[in-house]
Symmetry: C2
Amino acid sequence: MSNTRFTVAIHVLTLLAYCGPEALTSEFIAGSVNTNPVVIRRILSTLREAKLVASQAGPGGGWQLLRDPRKITLRDILAAVSGDPTFLLHSAPPNIECPVGRDIQAILARRFQSAQEAMERDLERTTIAQLISEVGGGSA
Amino acid sequence: MSNTRFTVAIHVLTLLAYCGPEALTSEFIAGSVNTNPVVIRRILSTLREAKLVASQAGPGGGWQLLRDPRKITLRDILAAVSGDPTFLLHSAPPNIECPVGRDIQAILARRFQSAQEAMERDLERTTIAQLISEVGGGSA
DNA sequence: AAATTCGCAACCATTATGGTTTCGGGAATC
DNA sequence: GATTCCCGAAACCATAATGGTTGCGAATTT
């Protein structure tokens, strides 16, 4: 990773759900996230590709949730915004003359996928609705 | 992440274990990984900090494993080479005037840690010794 | 002394990242 | 229809990370 888009995406979706059904502008959202509206629009446009939000131009426009917050998991969000997998293989292919170099990529690909799936299964346990219930000291 | 150091570290340790007790030079290792010896030394020096390997200067010198390959898990290796956590929070702190902005970081920190641990528990199931047994079609 | 090997610093090109500005176009309102 | 609001897209920027490379010194063996 090494980027904050997953975090910002979760923040934005939580805010959209928290603020109810009316549309929020990218400028308002940027005020909560503390960044630039264009950064918010970039991330929201990837969430729109995943059918999680919709945008509306013009006065009174902005961004709205398209899915029940109880049905949006952190895994869904990661899938929408994540480009690269968590673990990368070699930048240049290893030496196939070496027994280790020949096989290591295929072996690691399986292990990395397994670890990635373990992580995603954990993320799947959390929904946006749950996060909202914790905002404002909800669980205290 | 977005780097290949974890992969290279696993590759190097597997090679060290595979080639038996004698020391391997960074140049030889670089030949298997297909990169520059300095890149190998950089990664091995972080593994040395974790007491996984030792280096020896001079002719006949090089790098040796310090731990039984059956006792080196992928989780150990990740711990040694990983700098940043898998998931990063906001680059600038959110707006604390907003109920979501005020609490989201603490809430996400818990969720991210849980996901990270799920991933690490999975990585812990694999040892260098297991990887060696799969090299050369070991499981076929 | 000579050869080998690591250690470390410096440097480089490439890429990712978050941020910013600018301009155009669609949409609601007056 | 004119104005205002808001998104869309492109361009640009500074910063940082990454992998790679070179150079040289120090340690070690022969």
